[in-house]
């Protein structure tokens, strides 16, 4: 079960050298892939139910007047808090993927 689900950095290809990226660090309009959710299950669930799952593509499209990220996932727009965005580990998509 879930043998391919990347739970640590070890399974990733070569670019692992760079530091762990958080969704909060990603500039607007840059699509990334979600690697891991650093939240306990009960608090991750609202995210999971809305399609924010490891492996999904996330694109920060706008920042709210209070500086919190608004992201696009599977064509849905979701508003997060900065604090939540900082719990989402992401990686840049390599050119060919």
């Amino acid at each position: 079960m879930g043998s391919t689900a990347p739970q640590s950095m070890s399974g990733l290809p070569k670019e692992e050298a760079d530091v762990e990226l958080r969704l909060g660090d990603i500039p607007l309009r840059q699509t990334v892939e979600l690697v891991r959710i650093d939240l306990p299950a009960d608090r991750a669930e609202p995210l999971l139910e809305r399609g924010v799952l490891p492996g999904c593509r996330i694109c920060p499209v706008r920042s709210s007047p209070t500086g919190d990220p608004i992201i696009s996932v599977d064509g849905s727009l979701l508003a997060l808090r900065r604090e939540t965005a900082d719990c989402l580990c992401v990686r840049l998509l390599s050119d060919f993927s």
Partner: protein
């Protein structure tokens, strides 16, 4: 096309339980929030729907009848919009219990209509798997098909039907496209013969705080969904340009908050100024119909009960109907258009500071009209602790029932003089101050609660931002109709009972000639019993009686004083009322009384709705005592300062 579903199970009648024999098939309508579920429900049922509450909780239950064709009618339940079935929120719990047939007053559904927004197919299809596992006839409605095509998306819906083994309908519920096909499906549903459906396949039920396995389970399910989505050659629609354009304004760093403030102001303005002519109209109707009745009845106890008791009492509440409808009209427009979600995002940071979240903005705003619908609206707050905290502070919002009391006392005691030139007078300043007082109490209370009883890690705030849509008059109209019914039913029951009891208390003990003087009536004696307790605040027994009766509803205070002074002076003119008040109350005590009303929880309906929403007496009792202590000490301090 219809070969996949509605297995016709043998002959119908033999094995059905007695309670099933007479009923028509029951179909559950489910779907994620903002998928157009309620729009479809309204399309299908129109005016043939009724609202009630699910047993034990105040999640609203909409059940309606659908006339599928000339000879067939089925019952349709509009379940709350959910993203999953884990029972993390009240809505999810109700939805799951209904599907599993565990609700007392509803049997398990005979079929399911699952509606999804097909522009966001992948995440919406996450609901499909648990629904299919119920193994009952299912119809999948791909709503917003027009939008999918407009934005250049596409999918093979026949293939989807084939892969999932269910019927699939393309629809645009807003204008009614696809509704006939849904009706056709509904007409084929048979009453199910065997027992309960299997339990809903849930992914999480994990105890709080446990890591990972759930995430894996979600990922697995998502992989299966993705496979299906691939095989139906789903072309994802391009970005919604109009929504992006509007968000560029409404979520703009500068314009966003300005629009937000403007919206809040317009809502307020509508409650307090635009609704007034309507309220005057309703008041006129009540008074003139009361007079008409009074002239037709002979003088006696019955006329007194009907006119002074019921007509005046119930009338004083019905007057608020226009105000509540205007508020709900605006809230309906804001919500259906998609703006409310943006407002919640803008409000979130401020709410977060006091330990709440942006979703609490809607209930708190509603609280300025009436705490009862506001507490119901708190269901949108997903986190249970945040929801409780929101419910707890809602009664501090200055509801419209406080206004008649404020208006009377301010007119009687505060001079009509300018304070800051023509901009603001003393009276307006006092009114504004009372609003501020409520907000302050709410902020402090929330802050304390989140650090004591409801302490929790800050929740992960995730807010869906649905595309902007033009609200439909039909949906909003139906909702306003519901609201009026609920409100009038409340006025009809609670206030009716209270006013009759009150009236009786003024009539006994009976002297030989007729009703006793008010001091000697049962009501007057009750007032004198309380007097020692409120003397430190500078209130006499008359105010005491008013405080007791206003426990039913705040605005009853004005009517009660009217009755008491009216009985004493045989007149209940408002000017006379003000003058009598000035004789019986010092200005300082009047300020104290205002402060008391700003804080105290004098509203049985609020207490009742809190009990249902929080599932017991603990919270409402705590709330009542807390607010009473706050009100008493606030008034005590105010009397000494002024």
């Amino acid at each position: 096309m219809r070969d996949l579903s509605t297995p016709t199970e043998g002959s119908g009648y033999a094995s059905a339980q007695v309670k099933d024999e007479a009923r028509s098939p029951l179909i559950a309508l489910i779907g994620p929030p903002n998928s157009g579920k309620t729009t479809l429900f309204n399309r299908l049922t129109g005016l043939r729907q009724k609202v009630a509450n699910y047993p034990g909780v105040t999640v609203e239950k909409y059940v309606g009848q659908v006339q599928c064709n000339l000879e067939r009618t089925v019952e349709l339940v509009d379940l709350p919009g959910v993203h999953g079935f884990s029972a993390r929120t009240l809505d999810e719990r109700v939805t799951r219990d209904m599907l599993e047939g565990r609700l007392e007053d509803l049997s398990a559904p005979d079929a399911v209509v699952l509606i999804v927004d097909c522009t966001r197919l992948e995440s919406q299809l996450m609901l499909v798997e648990p629904v299919l596992k119920l193994e009952i006839p299912t119809l999948l409605v791909l709503n917003m098909w027009d939008e999918l095509e407009e934005r250049g998306g596409n999918l093979d819906h026949m293939k989807l039907a084939h892969l999932l083994g269910v019927e699939v309908v393309k629809s645009n519920a807003r204008v009614g496209v696809g509704v006939d096909q849904v009706k056709e499906f509904l007409s084929g549903v048979e009453i199910r013969q065997q027992g309960l459906p299997p339990p809903v396949h849930v992914l999480s039920n994990v105890p709080r705080g446990l890591p990972l396995p759930m995430i894996d389970a979600f990922t697995e399910r998502r992989r299966r969904v993705d496979k299906v989505v691939d095989r139906v050659s789903f072309v994802r629609p391009g970005p919604a340009r109009s929504t992006e354009g509007l968000d560029a304004i409404f979520l703009h760093r500068i314009w966003g908050p300005l629009v937000f403030l403007a919206v809040v102001l317009v809502v307020f303005q509508s409650i307090f100024t635009w609704a007034v002519p309507l309220m005057d109209g309703v008041e006129f109707l009540i008074t003139s119909s009361g007079e008409w009745l009074a002239n037709r009845l002979s003088d006696g106890w019955f006329r007194s009960l009907l006119i002074d008791g019921v007509w005046a009492g119930v009338g004083s509440v019905v007057v608020f109907l226009p105000q509540i409808l205007v508020l709900f009209l605006f809230l309906g427009i804001l919500e259906d258009s998609g703006y409310m979600a943006r407002a919640a995002v803008i409000a979130d940071r401020v709410m977060y500071r006091v330990g709440l979240q942006g979703r609490a903005f809607l209930p708190l705003l509603s609280g300025y009209a009436c705490a009862v619908p506001a507490i119901l609206a708190a269901r949108t707050v997903e986190d249970e602790r945040d929801r409780l905290a929101t419910i707890f502070i809602t009664p501090f919002m200055t509801c419209s029932a406080r206004l008649p009391v404020y208006a009377l006392l301010i007119a009687a005691f505060i001079p009509d003089r300018p304070l800051i030139g023509w901009l603001m007078g003393y009276r307006a300043a006092v009114l504004l101050g009372l609003y501020g007082l409520g907000i302050m109490a709410a902020v402090v209370t929330a802050f304390l609660l989140k650090r004591t009883l409801l302490r929790a890690e800050p929740g992960s705030f995730v807010m869906d931002l649905p595309p902007y849509r033009l609200p439909s008059a039909r949906s909003i109209g139906l909702r306003l109709l519901d609201r009026s019914k609920i409100f009038l039913r409340r006025a009809g029951r609670v206030i009716f009972a209270v006013t009759i009891v009150l009236w009786m208390l003024t009539q006994f003990p009976r002297l030989d000639a007729g009703p006793p003087p008010i001091e000697e009536s049962a009501l007057g004696r009750i007032g004198q019993v309380i007097e020692p307790a409120i003397e430190p605040l500078g209130f006499d027994w008359r105010i005491g009686v008013g405080l007791v009766t206003s426990l039913a509803a705040r605005e009853v205070f004005v009517g009660t004083l009217g009755t008491i002074y009216g009985v004493e002076n045989a007149s209940d003119d408002s000017m006379v009322l003000q003058e009598t008040l000035r004789r019986n109350l010092t200005p300082a005590a009047a300020i104290g009384l205002l402060v008391f009303f700003a804080f105290a929880l004098q509203c049985t309906s609020t207490v009742a709705v809190m009990r249902r929403e929080t599932g017991g007496w603990k919270w409402p009792m705590l709330q009542f005592c807390y607010m009473l202590v706050l009100a008493y000490s606030g008034a005590f301090i105010a009397v000494r300062i002024f």
